[in-house]
């Protein structure tokens, strides 16, 4: 395919709490604006609720909460990145996502041990794109079930419906 052929891979770039992340576009099913999120009682804290995406009911995972940042209100730039990893479809709520870029495989380095914040273990690699440091996420870790189900405490039971302004 495209990425294998010319030695580069395509990514969706998104912003979260001032940091730039990238996910492989191959794993992204689609991008959506957030209209309505229905809270699910007794769901883990980082699970904002459920949304419909292409007729499927998928969880909306708030990456801010997942990575330990504070929750912010949903606005026009907030995006739901619907990813497909394995058999699962999960929507990731991010601050904004506006770019689709190709990164040369050679531009990607393995994560530096020194750079390991809260999201450190979800990082697959680090790339420099146009003088920007981009953290490439390991999505299967991000949506790791056991971690979310056990590690997360449900902070919201029947949380407020998220509504777009």
């Amino acid at each position: 395919m495209l990425e294998e052929q010319n030695g580069s891979k395509t990514f969706i770039i998104f912003e979260l709490a001032g940091t730039t992340y990238a996910v492989r576009s191959r794993l992204v099913q689609q991008m959506e604006m957030i209209e309505e999120i229905t809270p699910v009682p007794n769901a883990p804290a980082s699970v904002e609720g459920v949304v419909f995406s292409r007729g499927r009911v998928i969880p909306a995972l708030n990456l801010r909460v997942r990575f330990g940042f504070e929750r912010i209100p949903i606005d026009l730039r907030t995006r739901l990145i619907v990813i497909e990893v394995g058999e699962r479809n999960v929507g990731l709520i991010v601050d904004s996502a506006r770019e689709f870029i190709s990164i040369e495989a050679s531009a990607i380095q393995p994560p530096n041990e020194a750079i390991s914040g809260l999201s450190g273990k979800y990082i697959e690699g680090i790339a420099t794109v146009d003088n920007r440091i981009v953290l490439i996420l390991d999505l299967s870790e991000v949506i790791n079930l056991a971690e979310i189900l056990i590690g997360d405490q449900p902070a919201h039971t029947g949380a407020q419906p998220a509504k777009q302004g």
Binding site: E3, T10, I12, R26, L76, E99
Partner: protein, 702 residues
């Protein structure tokens, strides 16, 4: 009559039986005469005593004397039938008879003179009564003056400084009136003295009466005494003239007072006019304020209009903002779609490569449009902020306009209050003018009354001159004097009463003065309030003009901030100018009012001056009344002198009594003579002869 008969018996040794019998009869008659003479002496004494008590006793004495004369005449007639020796007695008796006649005549004359004196005194009394009436009229006039002053006082509430001055003047006047009162007291005391003097005069007159009845010899003394009295009466007359002069002086003073009151009246009129001007100015001021309120209303309207327009603008800006939002949304969606397209294109591999390029182009376009939109959004946001500020400031302006309008209305209502106060002042001033007119009328009445007093004083003087004449008549007819003195005393009493009433009046004047003072103080208070109201109005006007300045500032802000709204804003600023003019008019009106208030104050001062003048005039009157009183006192002294004269008259009268006693003694001698005659008759003589002799005897004896 028995005494002569005795004398005949004792005087004749030759006796004829018949003559002797008759001589015995003459003797008995002589004894009788002697007895009768004793009786006369006693009667004269009784007469003297009774003269002191009653008028009619003199007449009784006179008639008794007449009876005696008649009896004497019948004695004489009987004596003619007697012997020739009785002729002397007869002559003497005739003499006595004649003397008695002349005495009778004198008594008659005295009586008439006394009657004349009584009528004269009555006349004086009438005059005095008139004077009393006049004094009462004066009193009434004074009370009218006082009541009118009271009304003036009670109605000059609103006039501060002049009221105080008025009060002070009135206090002075009141003090002067008190002085008058004390003078009146003095007058009263003097009148009392007059009364007692008159009493003394009455006693003296009684003595004169007794004297006149009996003795002609003491007439000269009496006459001199009468001259003295006349002198005294002249002095009284002089005093009366002085009273007249004093009355004339009072007239002058009253005229001065009148003039003063007139000037007060004219001042009051001036004050009225000034007040009217003030009222007009206040009305003009009110109109100006109303105009400014209307101006404010227009300002408010135009501000509301501009606020609406600005709000509309804000709404438009919001709409633009909404459109911006929509554009943003579209840009975001475009970005999203192009991202999704890129994802799909990447999946499609080489086949999707071209599509991926297009998607990227689209994304770039979307980003550019998003940036442009965000620029526009920034501008719009600025515009919205400005619009919001404009709305806020125009709302502020609106609020200030409303407030100013309300303040203006407050000012108007304050002005209306002032107007009401001014109207009240005008009304009061009018009342003052009216009251002053009334005062004037009353003063004229006073002048008239004083004139009348003067006339009457002249009449008194004339009457006194008449009195002098009358007193000269009294020289001949002292009996009248007492009554005149009594009447005079009575008149004096009445005068005293009048004086007391004058005192009372003076007291009234004092209390009225106090009321005037109180009223004046109230006036002062009112004037102060007026001043305060004027101050409040000035303040209101000041705050109005301040608000206008603020509005002007707000308007300026609006005009700088929203040039597109120039038309409205220019109308706003025009409205501002109108407001400023209106405010100027308000302040001019206020200035007018203040000036007019000053004029009112000045007028009040003038009024006060006038009142002071009037007070001076009143003082003059009072002084002149004092002179009158002094004159009265002098009159009283004259009356006392008159009394002294009357005492002299009484001494004369006592001497008369002594003369009457001598007459009695003579009559005793006559009786002895008659016995002697009787004795002679016993010796020899007939009846007729004895009679003649008796008559002759009587005649010689006188």
């Amino acid at each position: 009559m028995a005494a002569p008969a005795l004398d005949i018996r004792n005087g004749r040794s030759s006796s004829v039986e018949k003559v002797r019998e008759q001589a015995e009869e003459v003797t008995r008659a002589a004894v009788e005469i002697s007895n009768i003479a004793g009786d006369v002496g006693r009667g004269a004494e009784e007469q003297a005593a009774s003269i002191e008590k009653a008028l009619g006793s003199a007449g009784a004495m006179s008639s008794s004397l007449k009876d005696t004369a008649t009896q004497a005449e019948s004695v004489a007639t009987s004596a003619e039938e007697l012997v020739s020796s009785i002729n002397e007695i007869a002559a003497s008796v005739e003499q006595v008879s004649a003397n008695s006649v002349s005495l009778a005549q004198s008594v008659t004359q005295t009586s008439s003179a006394i009657k004349l004196a009584g009528s004269s005194i009555q006349n004086v009394v009438g005059k005095a009564q008139e004077m009393s009436t006049s004094a009462q009229q004066v009193t009434a006039s004074m009370s009218e003056i006082i009541s009118s002053i009271k009304s003036v006082s009670s109605e000059t509430d609103a006039l501060t400084s002049s009221a105080n001055e008025t009060a002070a003047a009135i206090e002075e006047m009141s003090r002067s009136i008190e002085a008058i009162a004390s003078n009146a007291d003095d007058l009263s005391a003097a009148a009392d003295e007059t009364a007692s003097s008159v009493n003394e005069m009455a006693a003296s007159i009684e003595e004169v009466a007794a004297m006149s009845e009996n003795l002609a010899s003491s007439v000269d003394e009496l006459s001199s005494s009468m001259e003295q009295m006349a002198r005294s009466v002249r002095a009284v007359a002089q005093n009366a003239e002085k009273i007249t002069e004093a009355a004339a002086g009072a007239t002058t003073t009253a005229e001065q007072m009148d003039r003063s009151i007139r000037s007060v009246a004219s001042l009051a009129k001036q004050a009225d006019q000034t007040t009217g001007r003030v009222a007009r100015d206040a009305e003009e001021g009110g109109a100006a304020v109303q105009k400014s309120i209307q101006g404010l209303g227009r300002v408010r309207d135009s501000m509301a209009q501009s606020a609406t327009v600005i709000r509309e603008m804000g709404k438009r800006a919001n709409e633009i903002g909404g459109i911006i939002d929509t554009i943003n949304l579209i840009a975001e969606r475009t970005n999203l779609l192009s991202l999704n397209a890129s994802i799909e294109a990447a999946r499609a591999g080489d086949a999707g490569r071209g599509f991926a390029v297009v998607a990227e182009e689209i994304r770039n376009l979307a980003d550019r449009s998003a940036r442009a939109t965000s620029d526009i959004a920034t501008i719009i946001k600025g515009l919205q902020e400005v619009a919001y500020e404009a709305v806020t400031s125009s709302n502020d302006g609106l609020r200030i306009a409303d407030e100013s309008s309300r303040l203006g209305e407050d000012g108007l209502s304050g002005l209306k209050k002032i107007l009401a106060g001014v109207e009240e002042t005008s009304r009061v001033t009018g009342q003052i003018a009216r009251a002053t007119d009334e005062q004037l009328a009353a003063a004229q009445l006073v002048v008239g009354a004083i004139g009348t007093t003067a006339v009457q004083a002249k009449q008194v003087s004339t009457a006194m001159a008449e009195q002098t004449t009358s007193v000269q008549s009294i020289v001949q007819a002292t009996g009248q004097m007492r009554r005149i003195a009594q009447e005079t005393a009575k008149a004096m009493n009445e005068q005293g009463r009048a004086a007391r009433e004058l005192i009372k009046t003076a007291q009234n004047t004092t209390s009225i003065s106090a009321q005037v003072r109180r009223a004046s103080m109230e006036q002062a208070q009112a004037a102060k309030e007026i001043t305060e109201a004027a101050e409040a109005m000035r303040r209101g006007a000041a705050s109005t003009s301040r608000s206008l300045v603020e509005q002007a500032t707000a308007g300026n802000q609006i005009s700088t901030e929203a040039t597109r709204l120039a038309n409205i804003v220019s109308s706003v600023s025009k409205a501002m100018a109108e407001q400023t003019v209106a405010a100027d008019q308000i302040s001019a009106a206020s200035e007018d009012m203040r000036r007019q208030s000053d004029q009112v104050a000045k007028a009040m001062t003038e009024q006060a001056g006038a009142l002071r003048d009037m007070m001076g005039a009143v003082k003059d009157v009072s002084r002149q009344i004092g002179s009158i009183t002094r004159a009265n006192r002098e009159h009283l002294n004259a009356s006392a002198s008159f009394s002294g004269v009357l005492a002299d008259v009484r001494q004369v009268t006592e001497r008369n009594v002594r003369g009457a006693r001598e007459t009695l003694r003579v009559a005793g001698g006559l009786t002895e003579q008659a016995r002697t005659l009787n004795a002679i008759m016993d010796g020899a003589a007939g009846n007729g002869f004895a009679g003649k002799k008796a008559r002759k005897k009587k005649k010689s004896k006188r």
